[in-house]
Symmetry: C2
Subunit: 558 residues, 2 copies
């Protein structure tokens, strides 16, 4: 058994740097995002791939209390069944009782010991980052490098960020204090003890597209604050979270805690496990990433719990003018293409004046802008072998259906058509380039809904003032995770900042280089705001961690 | 118009000291709790009384948007109608639109300017503390000194504490940051702006017994974070909050903000104004103090809002043994007597072994303990003129009904009878001493409910282990704001600490001197935990402030 204190001491420097970065919002990363052999060693990639391959067709060695039989529900978007079986969680009561059984010892260990264990878990996950990247690739459909970064290194950074916030929040109140109130004679003197206590069992409901990046912040925020965590993965993306739970249990056991403090609750999609768990009185915290329908349902119905949701919205860009038409089109083309627009942060609506925008290459009409983006897409995606490394695979048939429907109805003209891409390594993978559909400001019935996947709308407006109004209004009513503006006019930038504050959405201004609207950097960029319908929480601010525990005091005269 | 910056600078030292005290939990108070002429000057008391008297029978000079006519609903528990008329809030839509109209300018002022305004409001309220104390006395029934302390100085401290927490939370993220990500060539370099944005209109629902102490933390926590606040007072306790709103509007106006950022929503009790406001989509924050029925209803139904409740519970004391029987009885007698047990923190259930407890005066049976407390009550309350300064007045007829019913049914023996006390100054005041009713552990149907008022139960148990089990179980199921233990046995103390952590309630140990279980000190003691059914929030921790605002960022290359 490893001393709990050792883990904390071992990672104290990392925690301190992370905590400082959260406060300064300057650049910081604890986990290298480059899968290069120079960073991770010559054998790491092959070993990680082999570790992933070894899981295929096996029974994953986890035991889930209350499970009956197994489920094997995953098929890679690259065209093969994973065939990994997991315990099928059936008896919710038994699962939650088992989850809670180790809670008291975990509570009594205190903030530093719990933080040490969680930081050690991150280190062990990092040691398996190539294996995780393969697991994320073949459940989400992300291309390998993206899976390594977003699903590995960046997800670890987001987890570390959540742990750093939670540690700061738990330790801002001292464990003991001396209170002396002056009086006429002797002062009143009391010693006070303050203890962090958990809320109860936490439920984490994972999504298909970002099984680690979107699940780890909530998982570790709840765990480090003393709560047992039941991890309910998306049936199509179990393996990355099964590995996660395995590592959590390994470290918890080594440190002398109950392994069932973190459990995997896999299901057959027909089991409705998430809603059964979410309504149980023992579940006091819920983290959810996924569609608006279930997210809204959770917020309305899981009243015994504090619910953190990241749902979806209509990410929007106002295009007014630009100092570099080429760079703008290239930047936008990349944002549309990355993981085939299957990111909750991918842009969908581009508002621009029908009369065109001022650029370094003269006035550009909406048709010119579409052509500019099409040319940029051609450069990015012209070669199939290169294209698949950006596009990844289509995650599910729903995306294809939406893509087929886009621009085919009464509303909208296809300005840039989607193209089938052949994956050189995976013949059965479904890969598509983005489509760009032209709409008018009147087509709000089309552009006010999320069209998840590689579909973007070029919406012609009367002028930039109308663009900004439509942006503000659409985000206030339907939500957004991201927004952007292109303008060389300081007044327009100021108006957009104001509109973004009103709409409660993060704004990127004139991205013309190596930063993209769909990317958010841990420790610096907040992901989601909680201030519009797309999410009720943010990675990571104080509100994301503060209500995951309570402080209970005792006091006595001394 | 006063510069907004001036207010912040003027009170920066006070804010800093408050923030430090919140972190150290050491003794701190910014507002002197002694109503002595030596502290406040020879004329302050008389001037405050005169200011209060001048309100009687008048129309309070506040205008509430959407109001129609007036209401005058207050009668002093000391036996006279206040006869103060307030605008009757009727058109909820108009009220909320007006409340929100100044929100953008208030948001744009930023954390420091808002904090300065709120701290200036506290200063102006402090200047009217004697007037407020009279208003609290004659709405709640608290005796004057208590009204001055709990309703004035301590309430100001609690408000300052909430402001300090909120300011720290808002400013932990810098307003701007520079982010530089190293790359192969030039680093990626971005400037980022972080803006605190409000949630929307906040609703504060006041209570009858502590109109300021329980309303100010939520009011100022919401206001300082950028939210307009609609104050809905209890119909029996409007004046203290009308004065509060008046002062808020005065300072807001001086600083150039919209006065309707803080409004008074008085009602006829039949208007159901609180529930109408609470369910409105524009209301995004709710602070409630009052009964469990409406508090639970708010938590379940006001789903568009983040709801902070302080309800009620069954405050419990486990008596195992003591080093000073006399001091213990004196301390308990004081706690039962203070404001006639009409505090949400007043103890109700005393669990002790039927066979008696070990004391410095030998073994004491439950009957002996009752006799000891009765003797202590006699010393405290034997003289009517002194007694009323501790007991205050009975706040409403419900309290008298419960008092009459206590011990009169099939269950329970009256061990100490309540006595009518004649108020020397207010002949029509209803004043009663506490009653002590003996029960057995089997009488859970009686002692598991809150009996609000001067009623305490002495519950005979098999042994201290059973006492602790009953304590833990009752608090987990029915909640508690406070708990205490008397024991000379370290094992019992340890077991009680463990039980208090399990039950999520603050514990006071062996109070034998000048600190009482029903008192909590701002900056050091957390009031409520949010970890049991009596309250879902605490004055004041990070969770109390962190979700009252969101952070919206923008970013651009530099």
């Amino acid at each position: 058994m490893v001393s709990q204190t050792d883990f904390f001491a071992r990672h104290a420097d990392r925690l301190e740097k992370a905590t400082e970065a959260c406060a300064s919002r300057a650049y910081f990363s604890a986990f290298n995002e480059s899968p290069s052999p120079k960073v991770y060693g010559e054998t790491a990639a092959a070993e990680g791939k082999a570790a992933f391959d070894a899981w295929l067709g096996t029974v994953f060695p986890l035991s889930t209390p209350g499970a009956e039989g197994t489920v094997a529900t995953e098929r890679s978007p690259y065209g093969f069944d994973l065939g990994v079986s997991y315990p099928r969680a059936r008896d919710v009561e038994a699962l939650l009782v088992a989850a809670a059984s180790g809670m008291k010892a975990w509570r009594d260990a205190g903030p530093d010991a719990r933080t040490g264990v969680c930081l050690e878990i991150l280190d062990r996950l990092h040691a398996r980052v190539f294996e995780l990247a393969n697991a994320v690739q073949h459940t989400s459909g992300q291309a390998f490098v993206m899976a390594f970064q977003a699903g590995g290194a960046h997800a670890l950074d987001r987890a570390l960020e959540a742990i750093a916030y939670a540690h700061a929040e738990m330790t801002r109140t001292p464990a003991t204090a001396l209170w002396e109130k002056p009086g006429r004679g002797e002062p009143l003197r009391m010693e006070k003890t303050f203890t962090v206590v958990p809320r109860g069992v936490a439920l984490v409901i994972g999504c298909n597209t970002f099984p680690t990046w979107n699940s780890w912040p909530g998982l570790f925020a709840s765990l480090v604050t003393g709560n047992p965590v039941v991890v309910k993965p998306h049936p199509q993306a179990v393996l990355p979270l099964a590995i996660t739970v395995q590592v959590c249990q390994e470290v918890l056991t080594e440190a002398g805690f109950d392994a069932d403090l973190v459990t995997l609750a896999a299901e057959d999609p027909a089991d409705k496990l998430a809603s059964n768990l979410a309504l149980h009185h023992a579940v006091r915290l819920i983290d959810f990433t996924g569609g608006n329908a279930f997210g809204d349902w959770l917020e309305l119905n899981a009243r015994q719990a504090t619910v953190f949701t990241e749902k979806a919205g209509v990410n929007s860009i106002v295009v007014d003018s630009t100092s570099s038409f080429g760079a703008m089109c290239a930047n936008l083309a990349f944002s549309f293409s990355l993981y085939s627009g299957q990111m909750c942060t991918a842009p969908q609506n581009l508002y621009l004046p029908a009369a065109g925008i001022a650029t370094d290459e003269g006035t550009k009409t909406p048709a010119d802008v579409a052509a500019g983006i099409e040319a940029a897409l051609g450069k990015l995606l012209g070669d199939d072998a290169r294209a698949v490394e950006l596009l990844g695979g289509v995650v599910n048939p729903g995306v294809l259906e939406r893509l087929a429907g886009a621009g085919s109805g009464e509303r909208g003209d296809v300005l840039v058509a989607s193209r089938e891409v052949t994956h050189p390594a995976y013949a059965d993978a479904t890969v598509r380039t983005p489509t760009l559909v032209g709409l008018s400001a009147d087509d709000s019935d089309v552009y006010e809904s999320e069209c998840f996947g590689p579909v973007a709308y070029l919406i012609s407006t009367a002028d930039t003032a109308q663009s900004i109004d439509l942006f503000r209004d659409t985000v206030q009513r339907h939500g957004a995770m991201t927004a952007a503006v292109y303008s060389t006019d300081d007044t327009v930038i100021a108006d957009m900042r104001e509109a973004a504050l009103d709409a409660g959405v993060a704004l990127s201004e004139n991205l013309l280089g190596g930063v993209f609207v769909n990317q958010s950097a841990a420790f610096s960029d907040f992901h989601g705001t909680g201030a519009n319908p797309a999410a009720n929480a943010s990675y990571t601010d104080g509100a994301y961690v503060a209500s995951r525990f309570r402080i209970v005091q005792s006091r006595r005269h001394v």
